[in-house]
Amino acid sequence: MTAVPQPGPDAAPLLEMTGISVAFGPVRALDGVDFRLHAGEVHALMGENGAGKSTLIKALTGVYPVDAGRVVLDGAEVAFAGPAQAQAAGISTVYQEVNLCPNLSVAENLLLGREPRRWGRIDGRGVRRRAREVLARLHLDVDPASPLDSHSIAVQQLVSIGRAVQVDCKVLILDEPTSSLDADEVAELFRVISRLRADGVAILFVTHFLDQVYAISDRTTVLRNGRLVGEYRTAELPRLQLVSAMVGRELETLEQLERVPAEPASQAVAPVLAASGVSRRGAIEPVDLVVRPGEVVGLAGLLGSGRTELARLLFGADRADTGEITVDGTVLPMRTPRDAISAGVAFTSENRGAEGVVGDLTVRDNIVLAMQAARGLRRIPRRAQDEAAARWIEVLDIRPPDPDALLRNLSGGNQQKVLLARWLATGPRLLILDEPTRGIDVGAKAQIQALVADLAREGMGVVYISAELEEVVRLADRVLVLRDRRPVAELAGEDVEVDRVMELIATGHGEPDAERRGGADWEYGRSDA
């Protein structure tokens, strides 16, 4: 596990950060980190949740002040006072959480601060035209005049990427841009990235998907606990070595990732959830779904196929127009999430920024929030709160393991773990997970998947949604495939395999469709350089 620093391609690096240290009070988020970025390369920045990736990016763009270290861009030392200055110097950044304004239109979000102007006033027609161009380049078919908050997280993520790539920049930084995207959107993004790389843009790319690292990156820098582990040529770095560089030990989890789901529940067991004919106009056509205790049912489908919408109906977060939902044999009024919660249903939303975490509360408070809601006004004794917090911090390996840390100071992945803990702590009968491993590192992802399988084995019913088909297929006993807001098939047992699901998603029926299948693996990228 030796880091082999590779000399740069030929010229001096475009961006060189040396000895960067950033501390938040006692927490040393970065400790003497070196990082180099060359023109015309895609550089993956890897590390576990909380390793310091986002902090490095924010230190570069002036969001956080640096305690020590120098940054040299294009031969000149720079120290940006904020994102505006970094942008002016040619550094375009997509930060980790979607950072757009929900109250404005898609076009405005794409062009805020750089609207085309005529005689000093914003040229509305020019704004719409530019926005359409940017959207077309990402093959994103949305109305530029529509408000941003009418779109899914994935579309919002694409919009923020569109915002970053539309300007001529020297450096493009993408902090987990693909966490909510489906294979097709990722492919689209990679085409854009390849084009920019060919134009000589230096690209810094953060992701937790190893496949994507190998598909697109030329070099990889690994951080662990705020320190530099090493810089590698991606092609010469075996996967196992990358993972062990990230987690700091040889890891069996990669094998564990291939674990098989628990044996399917028998048909005789009374279902924990039975939904018949639930639908909502404009969101999802009528769906029947049964989940038995001990069963993991996956929902698969492209972005906008209705998977999130269905989950929200099951939980009562949106009202169903038709249909009936029973939990443990009792029909739920299912008008509000409250009904669902008291019936023992838990739901983790895909949109943690807007709906989930409460940044100004501590980790402990966030974890006990749903428990408290289920109990009503009676306070949970402090002892019980501490126990719950300690337990879930340990089980999910939340870092830092401090129940009094403010949630907004946690790294993105660790916030996601806290959100998961909140619902697990209620001990639900039915757990609905919408993108639970979004933004979570490889090691923790395997842990969470194992946890879900364990919970199912103990008798919980689980509905599992993920843009990663492999993940759904690996965990689920049955998979309901959705397409264009309609259920197209339910697979069980032997049929639950990635290719089958992909065919159904692509074609709506089981026949192979060669062209779409090609989209599944990462065989593009360098060709059009």
């Binding site: 994102p83 109250n103 601060g113 914003i122 408000p147 009418s150 919660i341 739901f347 929030l369 749903a370």
Partner: protein
């Protein structure tokens, strides 16, 4: 970079702008206010013979020109998620400074420029404290309210008459409009303020940043927008508008008095909210605020036509209207628009960086 795509052949997308048949949800509150205004006016017209005349309509503007100007400034502030409680006191202070300076023999143009600059500076100071010292706008502008009111008493305890010829002329000028209707110069100033306000909000980058800051301040910062400039700027604008409102008020009353415009900040806030602007920021229009002022004015006029009703009925009706509008906005926000529902657990709103503002 790729080359620009070939020009699109075919019909030009002019029609794309006005997708007929559906009103975007963000315009609904303004339309509702407009409908309410028309309805109130119709009620007045049905009940009282003299009511439904063009001049009554124009009088609404004439009597409330200063409030329109204040509401424009307040709209900017509220769009960023802030609040400005100082405007009423700044109006009073402006009338006092105007009257006192004129009495001391300064020429009217100098006085006007000095008062406007003073208002803008007052706003600048408050905005800078709010933004750079990160103190809540509610507190800072409350301090501004007391400070400006106190300064009034420092100038003079009693009312100071204005005898300057320019101010007199302005107050007596009637601009004829058609046969037997007229406007005053103040109305033109107020309408100009609305037009300039709308222009700045919708056609300049500063204005778009104001909306962005109200939508999500953290995002606006990360997008590299001039957040500080916008947050301070709106208080400068509000201070300037207050001073301008004070000048119009001086013209209207031809005097300066410390007890002028007590509580007018609340009228301005009420007009903005009734006009459909969200107190949490990020959504609203100055045109809505103008309509809000007209609604308030109509209520007042109806009650004065009634004659037997006491003026506190105005307050009651305005209170009810405010409540109705806040409820309406709530319904619009969570209802038909497929807005993502908030987290099911009872929790503080997540993700906002600044604390919720005080009530209006």
């Amino acid at each position: 970079m790729t080359t620009a795509p070939p020009p699109v052949v075919g019909p030009s997308p002019v029609a794309a702008g006005g997708r007929a048949g559906r009103v975007p949800a963000r315009f609904v509150p303004v339309l509702v206010t407009f409908g309410l205004f028309v309805a109130l006016f119709a009620v007045g017209g049905l009940r009282y013979e003299a009511f439904a005349s063009g001049q009554v309509l124009l009088n609404l503007l004439i009597d409330n020109a200063f409030l329109v100007v204040l509401a424009v400034g307040m709209t900017f502030v509220i769009l960023t998620g802030g609040i400005d409680l100082s405007v009423g006191s700044v109006v009073a202070l402006s009338t006092m400074v105007t009257a006192a300076m004129l009495r001391a023999g300064w020429s009217a143009p100098v006085v006007i420029v000095a008062v406007l600059a003073g208002g803008a500076l007052f706003g600048l100071a408050m905005g800078a404290v709010i933004h750079y010292l990160e103190i809540q706008p509610f507190i800072v502008t409350l301090a501004g309210l007391f400070l400006a009111r106190g300064l009034c008493y420092l100038i003079d305890l009693s009312s100071i008459p204005i005898t300057d010829p320019l101010f007199r002329d302005l107050s007596q000028t009637a601009i004829p409009l058609g046969e037997d209707m007229f406007l005053t110069p103040s109305v033109l100033v107020a309408l100009a303020a609305v037009a300039v306000g709308a222009y700045v909000l919708h056609l300049t980058r500063f204005g778009r940043t104001v909306y962005a800051v109200g939508g999500n301040q953290q995002s606006a910062l990360l997008m590299g927008l001039g957040v500080g400039r916008a947050r301070v700027g709106v208080y400068v604008i509000s201070g300037f508008c207050s001073a301008l409102g004070g000048l119009l008020f001086s013209v209207y009353l031809l005097s300066g008095y410390s007890l002028n415009a007590v509580g007018m900040e609340l009228d301005a806030i009420a007009a903005v909210v009734i006009g459909g602007t969200l107190l949490t920021g990020g959504s609203g229009y100055v045109l809505g605020s103008l309509l809000g002022v007209l609604v308030l004015g109509t209520v007042q006029t109806i009650i004065s036509f009634e004659g037997t009703l006491s003026t506190w009925w105005v307050k009651i009706v305005i209170g009810l209207l405010l409540l109705a509008f806040v409820v309406l906005q709530r319904i619009l926000a969570v209802g038909p628009r497929r807005r993502r529902a908030p987290a099911p657990a009872p929790s503080a709103p997540a993700g906002r960086t600044d604390p919720p503002q005080g009530d209006g």
